[in-house]
């Protein structure tokens, strides 16, 4: 709401329901609209519709709901519809364990939609960052005309802690415009202005391949290549502003942990404990997961001897790290519905330094 969200549609699912409860109570009082839909397919569809009606729109869900949203999310990417999706990841696959933690949706957020898409996914590790990164997600969604994901995990989603709801940020305002080409740009990675329904732009919005004006072009090779190419480049050309990492104790580190989400917070505690015993370990914390921080990981190559990648899945990010880092890589996957303990990470790291 601080970011300007005016519409929420969703279907309750543990461990994300608290977000929906909060929006149900607060959003209508602030002049926004809240609606509980019949399922997650309808929820993402309502969010897309609200966005085209001019609202900053969001939903929140967890694994099973995220799976149902995939078709709609592909539509949002292809129609360049700004929206924010918070996925509070729980232990999957399938219904799994509703109240337990997991982090198994990293690849799904990038590859769950068919076709080649580029999206943006952020990874918070605290209550403060649930606030700060949700605002950032809205800003990026509006700037890029793109669904932006906040890939939190249950440990962060259900965390209670001291946080400050400040107003020290800018909010991105949507560039509206009715120049007749809401789906085209002269720039290969450009973001066209977005009219809303009712602005008089003779708006056509379709999930089929379309030209600059929105007309279906389902048999022209060039039209498809150009559109898919621009949708990729509008993310990849901006990777420097999108990629956000934190470096802790890396200057003289021999072994680096690469971690994200709640796991990174435990990893930092493990790094500090080992530093206290004189072990040269550090942490590269990924606050952006997509686009993947390839350069930042590659920069570890030659600087540290080995990397350790603890995750609440079986190596989804470790595989991406492998593509950028040629030294020793130790992937540690834990999927028992519990967070990876600090003592576990200390023990694993001790075997490496």
């Amino acid at each position: 709401m601080a970011a300007g969200c005016g519409f929420y549609a969703g279907y309750p699912i543990t461990p994300s329901s608290e977000i929906m409860e909060g929006m149900a109570e607060l959003l209508p009082k602030a002049g926004g609209a809240f609606i509980q839909m019949e399922d997650e397919i309808a929820s993402i569809s309502a969010v897309i519709g609200a966005s085209w009606a001019g609202a900053k729109a969001m939903t929140a869900t967890s694994g099973p709901g995220f799976s149902l949203m995939m078709e709609g999310l592909g539509y949002a990417v292809f129609t360049e519809t700004p929206c924010v999706i918070i996925d509070i990841q729980r232990a999957g696959p399938c219904t799994g364990q509703a109240t337990r933690v997991g982090s198994g949706d990293i690849m799904q957020s990038k590859w769950g939609m068919h076709g080649d898409v580029e999206i943006v996914a952020l990874s918070p590790w605290s209550v403060q960052e649930m606030y700060d990164l949700t605002i950032r997600a809205f800003n990026l969604a509006e700037r890029l005309r793109l669904p932006v994901f906040l890939l939190a995990d249950e440990a962060v989603g259900h965390l209670h802690e001291t946080a400050e709801f400040h107003d020290r940020f800018e909010t991105e305002q949507r560039v509206r415009g009715t120049d007749g080409t809401p789906f085209g740009s002269a720039e290969p990675g450009g973001v066209p202005p977005m009219p809303r329904f009712g602005d008089g732009a003779n708006l056509l919005v379709t999930g089929s391949t379309h030209d600059d004006r929105g007309f279906r072009r389902v048999e022209e090779a060039e039209a498809h290549a150009r559109l898919v190419g621009r949708l990729r480049r509008k993310v990849l050309d901006r990777r420097d502003e999108l990629v956000d990492v934190e470096r802790h104790e890396l200057d003289d580190a021999e072994v680096a942990v690469v971690a994200y989400g709640f796991t990174a917070r435990g990893a930092l505690a493990a790094v500090r404990e080992l530093r206290g015993r004189g072990k040269k370990v550090g942490l590269l914390r990924l606050r952006t997961l997509w686009p993947f921080p390839e350069r930042e990981v590659a920069a570890l190559d030659g600087k540290v001897r080995a990397v350790f990648v603890p995750e609440m899945n079986h190596g989804q990010v470790a595989g991406e790290v492998r593509k950028c880092f040629r030294g020793e890589l130790r992937s540690y996957g834990q999927t028992d519905g519990e967070v990876i303990g600090v003592e576990t990470m200390v023990a694993e790291l001790e075997r490496m330094v």
Binding site: T14, Q97, A98, T99, S126, A155, H158, L159, H160, E161, T162, R265, G266, L268, A269, R272, V339, G341, V342, E343
Partner: protein, 183 residues
């Protein structure tokens, strides 16, 4: 100052409520607080845990790996969480569900939380708040006034009187335990 307090019991006993009130009270008292809960998909009857970390500086790691204080309302929770207590830690166990008194390097207090609630209110409801009062009366982790304010914030108005009374009874039971040792 860093204090890690773990409440354990069964869903429906108010374990999460006890942790929430403590976290809220700590924040009102000007401390940094972090809380996390573990519970089953069922609303009642499954194992349930509420962890609270209190500190006068920002909390780096918000979970409880090892607890300084353990407060339990079921034998199963006592058995499960005792190994995660720091050496020299303190245990408060509701004597209503206590089947065995544990031995080890910790201070152990069996306290009549449920018995007090049943005697005073004619119901087990409120036992969690009695236990919270015991923990705070004995440890002094957060002052009573802040918890009273938290109750007024968090709990529905028609339950204020019962909860405030339960808290007061808990503090009375807890204060004599402040020196440590067994009881």
């Amino acid at each position: 100052m860093l204090t890690r307090i773990r409440f354990g019991g069964l869903g429906g006993q108010g374990i999460v409520m006890a942790g929430s009130l403590l976290g809220e009270a700590a924040t009102l008292a000007g401390l940094h607080a972090a809380g996390s809960n573990s519970y089953g998909a069922a609303a009642r009857g499954t194992a349930c845990r509420s962890d609270v970390v209190l500190s006068d500086v920002r909390i780096a790691y918000p979970h409880v790996s090892t607890a300084d204080v353990l407060a339990v309302m079921s034998q199963a929770a006592l058995d499960k969480y005792l190994p995660g207590l720091v050496p020299g830690g303190v245990v408060f166990a509701d004597d209503f569900s206590l089947q065995r008194t544990p031995e080890g390097k910790f201070a152990f207090h069996a306290v009549p939380a449920t018995h007090t609630a049943v005697r005073e209110f004619g119901s087990r409801q409120g036992a969690n708040i009695v236990l919270l009062g015991v923990v705070l009366g004995a440890t002094g982790a957060v002052g009573r006034a802040a918890v009273e304010e938290a109750i007024r914030h968090v709990v529905r108005a028609r339950f204020h009187e019962t909860n405030l009374r339960a808290l007061a009874l808990g503090f009375e039971l807890g204060r004599p335990l402040a020196a440590g040792g067994r009881s």
